[in-house]
Subunit: 643 residues, 2 copies
């Protein structure tokens, strides 16, 4: 019996076996069951599950399961518009995705000499439907956004789901919340591949999906509780050009993220990114279950944030009248993100990184465009808020209050990185204020922070700061222990912040800065090097241990991690290329946890998934870059050291 | 008198002064006149000429010159279709480009308080036409391709042109050949900027170009010699939304490249690039007057070259039936390139980098997919031609003959890099052949090279090889002194090749590899680093001295330089981002020569031009990446060290 036949035989019994080995994992570390499968991956391409992030626990079989021409997604509870839209998107993806299995024959191997071919068709088994259910009736009518904006620690439970795709009968997806169902729908989509009709010598069955089914029902909120059909795979287009199939049915999946903070940071000040480009980023983030968009919306170069209370800031500080984000834009982005399981954390970086405010409020800014810039800032243009001045704190409080009015989530970023001392100490107004109050510069910063963070807390939000606020400015009694700290300078700094009792985001430049390695951008003869060289490959990112140097008691303080895109050398021309698929590695790292119980995870084991999700992204029009020559992407395990 | 007024006054006399200082430069180094202007650039933004590559000699004035609504390009000689098309493209660009001047007010500064505003319009002066002429009547009927495919040493003269854009009357462009006129047209286009109507508070004159003028005449070849109008600026669309203007008229330009080889290499084997993406690359190369496309068309990963004589190679070796270049595709690309002043040098890398041939001809290839790959190749998959076998030389000669049949230019690349000795010595058939002939491996390589290069010379072409062929395999008597050698391992290797009397291309990885710094792509835990780390910034590329360690007598052996894009981590998703605008720095380095008479050129001086051409590219739909925050691009000289 060949290995192929052995696996086919085993697959008949696998559903039973699976039921026995599936256990809920209540810790943040994954159980051992995926590793059983990882061993399979190493010995053959059979049974490979290329869902990224890889689910906490899963089993696969060895039978090709085709999507029925009448495939439908059903629910037995009334749908809010957000989940209904998510179901529509899944139907759309199942219908329009043309992603092919990554192997030399691009999936044809599943259809030729297929032992399941018992009715003169290459698709012996068809999946008729996917049924969605919730475990808790109280959750049935809350929108997804309400779970997305839970505190980070409470998110994982609401993102959990189980998915069962049997060889006969409907597939079942069960979540504790609509957010869990959203995650499960994403996983379900990624089980499937497309086999074009033309590439098959023995023409697999064409799954025609009549257009007449393409209109989904409009479901009134809170209407009947009987089974409902939300669209079908035909909602977008009829799939006349091939077969949509899952190669390794049956599937049993239990899934829950290890961390509640799985973020991408985008800096929209150094270069501007249009609203559509941000929406597209959110769609792609949702593909890999990232759940926080850290929006570094302003900085010294431009002020795209167009607040109705402070119109002068964008008027004078945006790159152009169209390079702005209106309040309506921001609300739209927050809702769009929330519908996709993503919280938007707005950051207004203060008191440094604010030079451009001088264009409308010169009285608030010290050392604006002072020369040489190197003495006054980390990069041009210099300019910082005169934070020793009470009028400045008042201005910032107004700014924060207006911005907080737009925020749905529990967090707000106030920055605090790279404050240039020389700029402040040379500033006459600041010097006078310090003298008046008998303050050191750190005293002034503490006072400014106390005032501005009070505003944030009054609005029921928790401040998020960069690491210097905790490490570089003395005691800073203003910083409540609830303040969340983003580690960025070096991953080795995490422990010192944890020792002070703060919760942290692992976002260190030595692992997670997407912009490193593009070379120095400051003009100089011969060119300079990137400050955080070399380039951080996805394998480098993936090798990070979120618990390195973290004591057992401190583990709960690690909220998760973040890939950061600072935009000195990035705008819409290379946005997606810098971001994808590398941020997907961060998504998996912080979704899946430690796998076998300890970090680091294995990049070689993850490589086929990274290829798969990259080509899925490209198929959906996302310019994710190739990680290896196409030849390697088609041959998992060949283009690795020692192979 | 303010500096501004002083310059305006000077500009009135500048045409006269210019006439006196303009001298033809017959050497490959530029004269000093540009530096006069570079000093101007440093002291103010006035008179800046942001044409890249910067012309050998030029003068600018200080008057805004708008394109007339009836602007037309005329000639007094009969046009071949290629030049006629080039003129059409220029008209199209003048009409559709929306590139704005890079300054905080985006060019509005030229229209407010304009001293030339003497007729209640912001455009006081309009350019009615551009007249093209040739200096030599014998050149008038040869196609551009015939100059593009001259030997490298003869190209600069045929690319030379003079361009005069006065304050009144028609502009004049004179070339020795139609290729020179093509270069001049490109320069002419880049003098102009767009000012949108909406961004001007005092609404500059709208240049309506009636649609009735949009159809250009079809000019019969060799028809009347009287003045001819080829289209107008209106050929694409009416410019209802703003003004097209040149800010620093009058312009006097004398231009000629320093080097005849200004190349981009693209590897289309590791990942595939579609024909349209290559055509777009050629268009962008033409924007910066690059003149050689070194097409590394095959390698070990895939064989996209679909030859009618060897259909099995692509059938078995292309990534898919559509990931190929047909003979018609290649002929089309060569003609398209030639029409844009670009020679296509095809390279079939042998005897290494040929593993994929084993898919159709396993008998020709040693160590195909041998494990571990590290012992048999620089990267997976291993596999090299059994070059000691006479049947292999015969096969390669057939391959070369077929491919040479497609080539228009004087050169053909045969590769010769990274031959893995272990692969060959472990190969039984090779071992037998060596024993049979009492050959060393180098003897066998010499014999193979003698046979295959003979084929190239029989077709009247000159072989181009990688440096190892000269440096790493003993004497290699087969390598004629006419063989051109591409330096790639390290720029320090150039001298040793020159000392052997070969002409060289400066293409070293330590300056000109576009793929460096993306991190290691071979799968390994933690990830590896790029072998040629760090990333080569445009400033690094620009700092190269083509004559470093080159004796005066050897200077004539330096044909030029090349930016190389090896495609392990690049395909169409990030093609343009990796290439542009960095390759533009290489274009200027090898077009302009040494500037003041010695290298290195100044990156700080070139920075505004690099920004300008980058934004021009983006305006034309090319995804060239930002070099700095937009804030810096608008402020030349601010974002540099020490500013």
């Amino acid at each position: 019996m060949s290995r192929q036949n052995l696996w086919t035989a085993i697959s008949l019994f696998l559903p039973l076996v699976t039921t026995c080995i599936l256990l809920f994992s209540s810790s943040t570390t994954a159980s051992t069951s995926p590793l059983t499968h990882n061993e399979n991956i190493k010995s053959s391409t059979s049974g490979r599950l290329d869902v990224l992030p890889i689910p906490t626990q899963y089993s696969t079989g060895h039978t090709v399961l085709c999507l029925s021409s009448t495939f439908e997604i059903t629910t037995s509870f009334p749908l809010l518009p957000d989940l209904k839209d998510a179901i529509e998107r899944t139907n759309q993806h199942l219908s329009s995705d043309r992603h092919q299995y990554l192997s030399p024959t691009r999936g044809l191997e599943f259809f030729n000499n297929n032992n399941n071919n018992n009715n003169n068709s290459n698709c012996a088994i068809h999946l008729p439907s996917l049924h969605l259910d919730l475990t808790s009736s109280s959750d049935k009518v809350k929108p997804i956004l309400s779970y997305v904006t839970l505190p980070s620690e409470d998110r994982p439970e609401s993102e959990s789901y189980t998915l069962s795709v049997p060889l006969s009968g409907p597939a079942k997806l069960v979540g504790k919340t609509p957010l869990g169902l959203l995650r499960g729908l994403t996983t379900f989509e990624h089980l499937f591949y497309h086999l074009p009709t033309s590439s098959s010598s023995s023409q697999p069955t064409v799954l025609a999906r009549p257009d007449s089914l393409s209109q989904s029902q409009q479901l009134p909120l809170g209407s009947t509780n009987s089974e409902q059909v939300v669209g079908t795979g035909s909602s977008a287009q009829t799939d006349l050009d091939g077969t949509t199939y899952a190669p390794f049915a049956p599937y049993e999946i239990e899934d829950k993220p290890a961390f509640g903070w799985r973020a991408v940071l985008l800096d929209t000040s150094r270069n501007y990114f249009s609203v559509p480009s941000i929406l597209k980023m959110l769609d792609t983030m949702a593909m890999v279950k990232l759940n926080v968009f850290h929006w570094h919306i302003t900085d010294s170069n431009s002020w795209p944030l167009d607040l109705s209370t402070h119109p002068e800031l964008a008027q004078a500080g945006a790159y152009s009248p169209s390079d702005i984000y209106s309040e309506a834009d921001i609300r739209h982005i927050i809702q769009y993100a929330g519908d996709r399981g993503i919280d938007v954390m707005l950051e207004i970086d203060t008191p440094g990184h604010t030079a451009i405010i001088a264009e409308s409020h010169p009285e608030l800014i010290a050392c604006y465009q002072a020369s040489p810039w190197q003495r006054n800032a980390h990069q041009p243009p210099p300019g910082q808020l005169r934070f020793a001045d009470p009028a400045v704190a008042e201005f910032v409080n107004g700014l924060f209050t207006s911005t907080l009015g737009l925020v749905s989530g529990p967090y707000f970023g106030t920055g605090g990185d790279e404050i240039n001392e020389n700029c402040m100490l040379q500033d006459e107004q600041t010097a006078q204020a310090l003298e008046r109050n008998a303050w050191t510069l750190d005293d002034a910063l503490d006072d400014f922070t106390a005032k501005t963070h009070a505003t944030i807390r009054q609005q029921g939000k928790t401040p998020v700061v960069w690491q210097e606020m905790v490490l570089d400015h003395g005691e800073m009694p203003s910083l409540g222990k609830d303040t969340i700290v983003s580690i960025w300078v070096n991953s080795a700094d995490a422990r010192r912040v944890l020792d002070k009792g703060h919760r942290i985001i692992q976002a260190a430049g030595d692992y997670f800065y997407l912009d490193c390695g593009q070379g120095g951008w400051i003009g100089q003869e011969g060119g300079g090097n990137s400050w955080c060289d070399p380039f951080k490959t996805w394998m480098r990112m993936y090798s990070f241990d979120p618990y390195k140097d973290v004591s057992d008691e401190q583990k709960k303080l690690v909220l998760g991690g973040q890939a950061s895109l600072w935009a000195e050398q990035t705008d819409e021309t290379n946005f997606e290329q810098v971001l994808w698929p590398r941020a997907a590695a961060v998504a998996e790292l912080f979704w899946t946890g430690a796998g076998q119980g300890s970090y680091p995870r294995s990049a070689i084991e993850a490589l086929p998934r990274m290829h798969d999700v990259r080509y899925r992204m490209v198929d959906r029009g996302v310019n994710a870059v190739p990680l290896q020559p196409h030849w390697c992407a088609l041959r998992p395990g060949v283009c690795v050291m020692g192979a």
